[in-house]
C-alpha cells in the first residue's frame, strides 16, 4: 500500500505526520518512508541513524540523458537547435553549445540530426539515499542538486526504489504542481495535512482537488489545531473528506519537534493513535479496492 502525505501549504506538518506514522507502524511491520520533497528533504532530521542528505557524497546519482555533439560528424546545419523548443541548443559558426539545464531530455535532437552526430550522455541532477533506520524501517531520501529546476526524475527514482515494498509512506513536496502530482500519482490513499489557518485551508483545497481528480481516497489531518477549526471542518464536510486526526497546538509537541525528535516516541499515547489512523486508512483502501 502506498500512502502519500500532501498538504498544499508548506510547513503544515507533512514530515511530522510521515515520520511519526512510519515510526509507529514499524513496531510490527516493514515500512518504507520515502522523502519525495526533493528540493528540501527533511525526514532524515527525525532519525539520528539517517545519512546527512546535504552530504553530496551520499547516495546514488540520479541522471537524465542530455545530448553530446560529435564535432567530427556535425556539419552545423542547425536542425537540432531549430527543433529544440526549450532553447537548450545554440549552433555557433564553429561549434554547438548546450544549455543542459534547459534540456528536457526529449531526445528529439538525436532523432532529427541527419548526420548521426548526437549521442545521449548521463547528467547527474540529484541523488537517492537509502538508510536502514531499524530492522523494519527504511528511509529513502531524494535530493535534487542545488541549482536544478526539475525534480521529477529524482522523485520517480525514489518511487521506483520503493516500488516493491508492502507499505510505503511518501512525503510529498508542498504545493499542487508537478512535484506533488508526481508523488501523488499511483498512491492508494492521500493524507492531507493542514493547519488551523486560512492559508492552510486555501492551499489544501487546491491539492484536495488534484487528489479528487486522481481518484485517490483522502482524509485530513489538522495539525497545530486550536480547536477552532470550523472553516476547515465545513470544507471537509462539503467535500466528503473525513478528518482522520487532530494534533493539538501544544508547546510540549513543539519542543519535541524542535529537538528533532518524534513526539509519538516521547508521548507514547500517540503510538496507538497513529496505528489507529493506519487501520482506518487500510480499511478505506480495502473498501475502495472492492468497489
Amino acid at each position: 500500500m502506498k500512502i502519500v502525505v500532501a498538504s498544499g501549504k508548506g510547513g503544515t506538518g507533512k514530515s511530522t505526520v510521515s515520520a511519526n506514522l512510519g515510526s509507529c507502524l514499524s513496531a510490527n511491520r516493514e515500512v518504507i518512508l520515502a522523502d519525495c520533497d526533493v528540493e528540501e528533504p527533511n525526514l532524515h532530521i527525525f532519525f539520528s541513524e539517517a545519512s546527512d542528505a546535504s552530504d553530496r557524497t551520499c547516495g546514488q546519482d540520479v541522471t537524465v540523458p542530455v545530448p553530446s555533439f560529435d564535432p567530427e560528424r556535425c556539419n552545423l546545419c542547425g536542425k537540432c537547435a531549430n527543433f529544440c523548443r526549450y532553447g537548450a541548443i545554440t549552433v555557433l559558426k564553429d561549434r554547438v553549445i548546450l544549455f543542459e539545464k534547459l534540456c528536457h531530455s526529449c531526445g528529439g535532437c538525436r532523432i532529427i540530426c541527419p548526420n548521426d552526430a548526437v549521442t545521449e550522455v548521463p547528467r547527474a541532477v540529484g541523488r537517492v539515499i537509502e538508510d536502514d533506520i531499524n530492522s523494519n524501517l527504511k528511509l529513502i531520501t531524494g535530493v535534487l542538486n542545488e541549482g536544478e529546476a526539475v525534480g521529477i526524475p529524482v522523485i520517480k527514482k525514489v518511487k521506483a526504489t520503493a516500488e516493491d515494498a508492502e507499505l510505503v509512506i511518501l512525503d510529498s513536496a508542498p504545493g499542487s504542481a508537478c512535484p506533488a502530482i508526481e508523488t501523488i500519482e499511483g498512491a492508494d490513499y492521500c493524507i492531507l495535512v493542514t493547519e488551523s489557518t486560512p492559508f492552510g485551508l486555501h492551499d489544501m483545497a487546491l491539492v484536495a482537488e488534484v487528489v479528487r481528480q486522481a481518484g485517490i481516497p483522502a482524509g485530513v489531518v489538522i495539525n497545530r489545531s486550536d480547536d477552532r477549526d470550523e472553516e476547515t471542518e465545513a470544507f471537509c464536510h462539503e467535500h466528503n473528506l473525513p478528518i482522520i486526526m487532530k494534533i493539538p497546538f501544544s508547546k510540549k509537541i513543539a519542543a519535541v519537534q524542535n529537538r528533532g525528535d518524534l513526539f509519538s516516541s516521547v508521548m507514547p499515547e500517540w503510538q496507538n493513535r497513529f496505528i489507529e489512523l493506519f487501520n482506518l486508512i487500510s480499511s478505506t483502501v480495502k473498501k475502495e479496492r472492492v468497489i
Binding site: 532553447g87 537548450a88 541548443i89 555557433l92 553549445i97 534547459l102
Partner: protein, 111 residues
C-alpha cells in the same frame, strides 16, 4: 558590419526594446543606419529558453554586434560564445537613435 537592434516595431523609427529574448523584432542594419532586414521574433510568447533561441537568430543573420537593454544568463553565455559584441541602450529612443549613439561610441559595451 551588421548590427542587430532589439525593437518594439519593424522599422528604424520603432522604439528600442529593452528586453532581449522577448523583443518583438530584431532589426538588422549597417553602421550607417541603413536597414538591412527586420525579423519578427517567433519566441516572444515562448515559455522558456528564449535567450539562446534569440541568440540563434542573431547568429543565423551574421550580425557581429547587438544593441539591446538587458538579457539573462543563458543569452549572455551564448552571445559570448558566439563572439558577438553587445552594447547597452536603455533610453526610450528609436533604433536609428541607438545606431547613431553607437557610431559616436557613446554606448556602453557590456559583452
Amino acid at each position: 558590419m551588421k548590427i542587430c537592434i532589439t525593437a518594439k516595431g519593424n522599422t528604424l523609427d520603432a522604439q528600442v526594446e529593452e528586453r532581449f529574448g522577448r523583443a518583438p523584432y530584431f532589426i538588422f542594419a549597417d553602421e550607417d543606419g541603413s536597414l538591412i532586414e527586420e525579423v519578427a521574433n517567433a519566441n516572444t510568447n515562448a515559455t522558456g529558453g528564449v535567450g539562446p533561441k534569440s541568440v540563434q537568430v542573431i547568429i543565423d543573420h551574421d550580425a557581429s554586434t547587438l544593441i539591446t537593454g538587458q538579457m539573462g544568463g543563458n543569452a549572455q553565455t551564448a552571445l559570448e560564445s558566439a563572439g558577438i559584441a553587445v552594447y547597452q541602450y536603455r533610453d526610450s529612443g528609436s533604433v536609428s537613435d541607438a545606431i547613431a549613439l553607437f557610431k559616436e561610441d557613446k554606448l556602453k559595451r557590456i559583452l
